[in-house]
């Protein structure tokens, strides 16, 4: 094996790739050749480091120097100063790692300090397109242990004992699911992976697939051994091209090494995997719909029972787990259920990955022990809200979840606490909202999403969500009544109790939770015809402050409908009957005289 003195790790996740990390890798290779040190320094493209806000990210080992927002032009300097002369380029380091005469390591900065990376253990550490690097990090050791030292029942017991619950949203105990499927008697069973990460604002599954695809393959083979299946499918979104590519590379490598295929590790166990691409239907994240989609049909859900563990894909017993759930499995088998269960709360064991986004300083992926409070995630890891704005709410669980208001910010994040306050874990999207976000508008945003994505099979979801959206539209248009709010509540509860699948049953949650915590905003829209966040256009009216207006006429010239009039050097006025509320006047005024 070739020995090198330094490693340059460049993030190749979707976030950093979008910020130009590919060009940075090429530039490193060119510059290393220029300085004739390309034999001593190795450049590796890794998976996501999680700190997408600071991308593209480059880490140089052995020093562990954390360069952030690196541009192509910076590369030559890093190569010459750091890699050739041994002088770290402090100017380019993430500023929080730089102290006087001291450079802090990655794990000491606020963003990483509180994190515990279990599912993301290899993301940003290894080259996802190189199976040897995975193996060097104890990869496929858990599969070996399961196949050679454990019976299928022991594997299931270990997973049960760990307390692992499904990370895709529902939180069903994984071991129990496996147990059901193992007890179904059939000549053919299937193991499926749900990588149809449809929740807007969640991208942890994508990061695992991009950064550590082998961990999912290993876990699926273990699941196959546990329940007695020899074929698996990974259903992944077509919107994730990098993830699909790396997954395929990983499957091919695993086959070549004999880790997938016939007679794995010479134990007589056969297992193989195929990728199936999604085609852009949110409902296919629902387990029965996903199976119908793999079968090549319209992805409509079907009633349960029979449960997939009895009758799933092609009517055969099937288990379906989410990417992040699988990523935990090798760790559980290697370190033992007890060790895994040390992290987390009484009923929610282990860690959870969250995609931190929206109005927050440190956007990115964070993995924290279950039970960490929202406050810790938002303020300590996330670095708070930008521009000195106030935290208003956090949305978890995507279109199936709800909003957590500021006074519940000390809620521990685990399955049961979130359900109790009317939200849910979901797949782990955590969108932070500040005072500029209108809660009625957010409820409408999610309803538009579910109306669009409703498959149309059952009436409560197809028609109920549509009616709900119409009522919301009335409210944001300023034509709603107080009775509409009550009617919405009734409708929500009806849909919840009568829809066929998880999509419909949870679709009213964004409305219910905002009604619960932000009812005053709904009432304000209806009674005062006012949107305090200034989002609902129909309820806005722009006005010019006569004291601040200098009569420069700029706004009058920019107004596309000629709604502003006034003489030069005199205060102008807006004719609200003509105004279309486009906001051009406000953004062009140099004196801050126009407000809404």
């Amino acid at each position: 094996m070739e020995l090198v003195r330094s490693h340059v790790l460049v993030c190749g996740g979707t976030g950093c790739t979008s910020s130009g990390s590919k060009q940075i890798i090429e530039e490193f290779e060119t510059q290393l050749k220029n300085f004739d040190i390309d034999k001593e320094v190795k450049v590796i493209q890794t998976g996501c480091f999680g700190f997408c806000a600071m991308g593209p990210i480059v880490i140089v080992y052995p020093e562990g120097s954390f360069y952030s927002m690196v541009q192509k032009e910076d590369v030559a300097e890093i190569v010459e100063q750091h890699l050739l002369k041994g002088k770290i380029v402090t100017r380019l380091l993430y500023k929080e790692t730089v102290e006087e005469d001291n450079v802090k390591s990655l794990n000491e900065i606020d963003f990483y300090k509180k994190q515990h990376r279990v599912a993301l253990r290899n993301c940003g550490v290894i080259d996802p397109e190189n199976i040897d690097e995975y193996i060097a990090c104890d990869g496929y050791k858990a599969l070996g242990k399961a196949l050679t030292e454990m019976t299928p029942q022991e594997v299931i017991q270990e997973v049960k004992d760990s307390g692992l619950r499904g990370r895709g949203g529902g939180g069903f105990p994984t071991g129990v699911k496996w147990d059901f499927a193992s007890k179904s008697v059939n000549d053919q069973k299937y193991v499926l992976c749900n990588a149809d990460e449809g929740d807007p604002g969640a991208f942890m599954d994508r990061s695992v697939l991009e950064g550590d695809p082998h961990s999912v393959i290993e876990a699926m083979a273990i699941a196959g051994y546990a329940i007695g299946a020899n074929q698996g499918y990974i259903y992944v979104r077509a919107e994730y091209p990098i993830a699909v590519h790396r997954l395929q590379v990983a499957i091919d490598q695993a086959r070549e090494y004999g880790i997938l295929g016939k007679n794995i590790f010479e134990t007589g166990f056969d297992f193989d995997l195929e990728i199936r691409l999604g085609a852009g239907a949110f409902v296919c994240g629902e387990e029965t719909a996903l199976m119908t989609s793999i079968e090549g049909r319209r992805g409509e859900p079907r009633p349960r029972p029979p449960f997939p563990a009895v009758k799933g894909l092609w009517d055969k017993p099937t288990i379906l787990n989410n990417v992040e759930t699988y990523a935990n499995i090798p760790v559980i088998l290697l370190n033992g259920a007890k060790e895994f269960a040390k992290l987390g709360t009484e009923t929610s064991k282990g860690t959870k990955v969250f995609a931190l986004g929206g109005k927050i300083n440190n956007t990115g992926l964070v993995e924290v022990p279950m039970g960490t409070t929202l406050r810790e995630v938002v303020y300590e890891i996330g670095g708070g809200i930008p521009n000195g704005k106030q935290f208003k709410a956090a949305q978890t669980g995507g279109p199936s979840g709800g909003c957590i208001p500021a006074d519940l910010i000390d809620t521990p994040i685990d399955y049961d606490s979130l359900i109790k306050i009317g939200s849910m874990m979901g797949s782990g999207g955590l969108i932070v909202m500040d005072e500029d976000t209108c809660m009625v508008d957010i409820a409408k945003f999610f309803l538009e999403f579910t109306v669009d994505e409703s498959c149309g099979k059952c009436v409560p979801c197809r028609i109920g969500t549509k009616r709900l959206l119409e009522l919301l539209n009335k409210i944001t248009d300023g034509t709603g009544t107080l009775e509409d709010i009550d009617e919405m509540e009734t409708l929500c509860n009806t849909i919840k109790s009568s829809a066929l699948c998880g999509l419909g049953q949870t679709a009213p949650n964004p409305v219910l939770s905002t009604l619960k915590y932000f009812r005053d905003e709904y009432v304000e829209h209806v009674v005062d015809k006012k949107c305090r966040a200034g989002v609902c256009k129909a309820l806005l009216s722009y006005k010019i402050d006569a004291d601040k207006c200098k009569g420069c006429t700029l706004c009058a010239r920019q107004c596309p409908v000629g709604a502003i009039s006034g003489k030069v050097k005199e205060a102008h006025i807006i004719d609200t009957t003509k105004c279309i509320k486009c906001g051009v006047c406000e953004s062009t005024c140099k004196f801050g005289a126009i407000s809404k």
Binding site: T14, A53, P200, G201, A202, E239, L277, R298, G364, I431
Partner: protein, 164 residues
Amino acid sequence: MAEKKVPAFQGTKEQEAQLKEVIAKHKDSKGALIPVLHEAQEIYGYLPVEVQTMIAEGLGLSLADVYGVVTFYAQFSLYPKGQYRIAVCLGTACYVKGSGDILDKFKERLGIDVGECTEDGKFSLDATRCIGACGLAPVLTVNDDVYGRLTVDDVDGILEKYGF
């Protein structure tokens, strides 16, 4: 919904040969339809009824089955896309950071609505589901190029880059 005009089908012999190859490759595997549709859309750029008919015949399905699947999934398009496919992400993270305004600006500049294509066939506009680049929100893609951390003021520059 108003009926959109579908331009006359202009598939070539080469494309047809490619499609036949794809069908032959998947024909005997279970659940072949969706993978075939994906690859057919790669070849033709969209899935007009002529292509759907060839697929139905090749796989031994009815045209209704194929049409049912094509119209169910958002990824499959019955209409041709532009040379430059602009897709503005309307995931939650992008939405709360103002991607709705960016989409509106594109509509205004291009004079087309979501799902439409400019008359010269150069630009098409879509509102997409979360592409998972939430760290860079708001985000849009033009073909395979990704643009992040955008504001409404970036719209003109992006259009200019593609010769608008």
